[in-house]
Amino acid sequence: MNPEPYVWHQLQNHAASRLRPGFADRVLRVARAGVEAAPSLLSQFLLCAATAAACFAGVALFQAHNSSIENQRSLAAWQDIASATSDTGLGQ
């Protein structure tokens, strides 16, 4: 059997009773707040660009710092080799 039309009305009435008073005002308030608070496309693009630039700068700094430490370590190692070589007279 198919539901009688009054059952569908019961369904609609039941659903309507779930809406608290002041529903329309709440909707309008949220809709307006969202429009005012929504970031513009330009500001979203700028935020993306700034984030990407900050990430890139972070990676570059980290890389420069690591390279510098590695260079110092290599230089110290070469100095050790050079001094060892000159001590044993192999360099002449």
Partner: protein
């Protein structure tokens, strides 16, 4: 809908499109019960009716200026409602995949006093067995929409709507058992 009420609706929609808050409020108040009923038929959960209906009307307010034909407002509004409900159901499905709820968390019963009668409970149960698209179709028919209007809302052809409606009614009939429910 007769021609005078259609003209009044078009006038109201045009005023709302120009940003008149009173007109927007009037539109929400005029349609909130129908949209709530539609949402309930689609989701089967009375505790999410207000949230989803609110989302529908927020989308309506924000997108109203993009509505080209104010006379098509009702079809457009119910299309928004249908898409919002389908998004909601899809998100729920995804959440079930990614968050491992135990069986005791699935199919949580409606809160106490949420279901009024055996028939309403049976209708809710029967609708729950149907695909969301078919629930939308049946809910739109109950809204008193014509086949042509439903076809426009669902962006389909009238013939397809008729065929799908026949199938959906058949399935609803199979699942609707008001006197066998506990």
């Amino acid at each position: 809908m007769d021609s005078s009420s259609t003209t009044a609706l078009v006038d109201l929609v045009c005023r709302a499109q120009r940003g008149e808050e009173a007109a927007q409020r009037e539109l929400i108040v005029s349609y909130q019960h129908r949209v709530a009923g539609f949402v309930y038929a689609m989701t089967g959960r009375s505790d999410s009716v207000e949230d989803i209906a609110q989302q529908v009307f927020i989308k309506m307010v924000r997108a109203l200026d993009r509505l080209q034909a104010p006379a098509q407002f009702e079809s457009w509004l119910f299309r928004l409602a249908r898409n919002t409900c389908i998004d909601h159901l899809r998100r729920q499905k995804l959440r079930r995949i990614f968050i491992a709820f135990g069986p005791e968390h699935e199919d949580v019963p409606e809160p106490a006093g949420a279901v009024d009668t055996e028939e309403l409970d049976a209708l809710r149960h029967a609708l729950d067995q149907l695909r969301p698209q078919d629930r939308a179709l049946l809910a739109l028919v109950q809204e008193g929409r014509s086949h042509a209007e439903i076809a426009e809302t669902l962006q389909s052809s009238v013939a397809a709507v008729k065929a799908r409606l026949h199938r959906a009614r058949e399935q609803l009939r199979q699942h609707y058992q008001p006197h066998h429910e506990s």
